[in-house]
């Protein structure tokens, strides 16, 4: 079973992905790291910032790892690298 989720790319990740938002089709059940890998499959340049992002699912921080996610169509995934300007 797959579902359609919305991926939001912030700051540096939008530069690397070349888009600010997109809808992608992913398995309904997968780990957070597998979900990240699905996204990196589409935008390989994102691999460079894997260790420097807040990864959020439904507006909640998720550690990239074995945590199992159950996704639904319309869920919002956000990739948030730190911004340091001021």
């Amino acid at each position: 079973m797959t579902c359609e989720v919305i991926v939001l790319y912030f700051a540096r990740s939008a530069d690397l992905a070349g888009v600010r938002t997109e809808t992608i089709s992913v398995p309904q059940q997968l780990t957070s790291l597998q979900l990240w890998d699905e996204i990196v499959k589409r935008h390989s340049r994102l691999a460079a910032i894997q260790d420097q992002v807040v990864f959020a699912v439904r507006q909640e921080y998720v550690l990239l790892g074995d945590q199992l996610l159950v996704l639904h169509t319309g869920d919002e995934i956000a990739i948030i690298p730190p911004v340091s300007g001021g």
């Binding site: 420097q52 550690l63 956000a78 690298p81 911004v83 340091s84």
Partner: protein, 438 residues
């Protein structure tokens, strides 16, 4: 704690310490009542049940260290001073520049070239003379940060670089002070409160600093002034809520502002990471480190200086001027983004943005090769034809030289690719003062 030790002394009556000293003022007294003038001045916030007299008195006993008097620090300090905070420590090593004024709203044209910390202090005293403003004309470092952070109740990170963000975070964790952190770039901003009531610290979220070449600053990336204005104002709000005892909504949440969409998102964060290097249960960081080394970048350089090429692959602006004067046949390739080419350009340049070169854009490479072939004189067919690459500051041009050196196209022939050190800004500084600087 604050005010102890031989180095501590009261700030001068005018609040302007000698630049080489770091005055550590004594703690502010907790007062029991407001004066008639204070009641009048703060009446609109005194009638708010959430603040009231008790909140105002707490605020007047609160000291806030503002790290960075720029796009975030100016609006933050402005609202904190207006609201009647007890003391503001204003840290900035830099001077006011013309390109700051679109967003750093405490500074004035009349203060160009003067210290930002002093300029901000002077503007704040005009807003509210009862607030103690202590300027610190220094770049916060491992030797100064902890002492200063310990002397203040709340810290606001309004800095503009990665090493300072880790330094301030670690100092706040070690000193046990809440850190209200904001940042802004282009049309985006972020806000969070770190190390407060079981929430994460900056390192819990970002244990590893980003590679320096992936970090963009305001000079390179641009920023619309009102964006740090909004984030600095929100940051002031969280400081006020903490200082008056209302608490904060962001000790385990990050606010993301997308100015283009006009949208705020509230991201729930993780709690403190027990394995965190600085705030974890068994921290490996128990004293401040060398953060410039940790991050691989400088806290004070406005611009990173990359060094990708050897000296014989580079020419100075003086040497390039000589090449022009000698009418040496060559091609000059400007690799800046088109938005910057629109600002200013050299008339002889051909344009090939670095991003297009990096993605090996066929159309861009073909037209560049065509221009080189056209410019090459038939008589010098066997000699390497000179191609010079320029950008704003001489970083991107080095990356472009690396790409162009690997270029192989039929009919291109031998080329010698070098970049111009310091880029167009060095050209403006050393060769043509009429050339715009941005």
């Amino acid at each position: 704690m604050a005010g102890a030790g031989p180095a501590a002394r009261l700030p001068e009556a005018d609040g302007l310490p000698a630049p080489e000293e770091n005055p550590i003022p004594p703690p502010l007294p907790l007062r029991t009542e407001l004066s008639r003038l204070e009641i009048q001045r703060y009446s609109r916030q005194l009638v708010l049940p959430e603040t009231g007299v008790r909140g105002q008195l707490r605020l007047s006993a609160c000291s806030v260290l503002v790290v960075g008097c720029g796009g975030l620090g100016c609006p933050l300090a402005q609202y904190l001073a207006a609201a009647g905070v007890g003391r503001l420590g204003l840290v900035d090593h830099d001077v006011v520049e013309l390109s700051n004024l679109h967003r750093q709203v405490l500074h004035r044209e009349s203060r160009l070239g003067t210290s930002k910390a002093r300029s901000a202090a002077a503007a704040l005293r005009e807003i509210n003379s009862a607030v103690q403003c202590v300027p610190y004309e220094l770049a916060l470092g491992r030797d100064t940060a902890l002492q200063l952070v310990r002397a203040y109740d709340v810290v606001a990170d309004c800095s503009d670089n990665v090493p300072t963000r880790y330094l301030v975070n670690d100092a706040c964790v070690l000193a046990g002070k809440p850190l209200v952190s904001a940042s802004a770039l282009r049309l985006e901003g972020q806000l969070a409160v770190y190390g407060y009531r079981g929430g994460p610290c900056y390192r819990c979220l970002f244990p590893k600093p980003p590679p320096p070449e992936t970090v963009t600053n305001c000079a390179d990336g641009g920023v619309l002034g009102v964006v740090p204005g909004i984030l600095g104002s929100l940051q002031a709000l969280e400081v006020l809520k903490i200082a008056t005892g209302m608490g904060t909504s962001f000790h385990q949440a990050m606010l993301i502002f997308d100015a283009l969409e006009g949208r705020f998102r509230h991201i729930k964060l993780r709690p403190r990471n027990p394995d965190c290097a600085v705030c974890g249960d068994n921290p490996s960081v128990t004293a401040l480190q060398d953060y410039e080394q940790f991050c691989g970048s400088s806290a004070t350089d406005k611009c990173r200086m990359l060094c990708l090429l050897s000296s014989d692959e580079r020419v100075s602006v003086e040497e390039y001027k000589q090449i022009l004067d000698d009418k040496v046949h060559h091609v000059l390739v400007d690799v800046r983004p088109l938005v910057e080419v629109d600002i200013c350009r050299l008339p002889q340049a051909v344009f090939a943005p670095l991003s297009k070169l990096q993605e090996k854009d066929e159309g861009c490479l073909k037209s560049l090769v065509q221009r080189i072939c056209e410019a090459r004189q038939p008589s010098s067919e066997n000699k390497a034809f000179p191609v010079y690459v320029v950008c704003k500051l001489g970083n991107d041009s080095q990356k472009a030289v690396k790409i162009l050196q690997g270029l192989s196209y039929q009919g291109l022939g031998l080329i010698s690719v070098k970049d111009i050190k310091g880029g167009l800004m060095a050209w403006a500084n050393k060769i043509n003062p009429e050339f715009p600087q941005y």
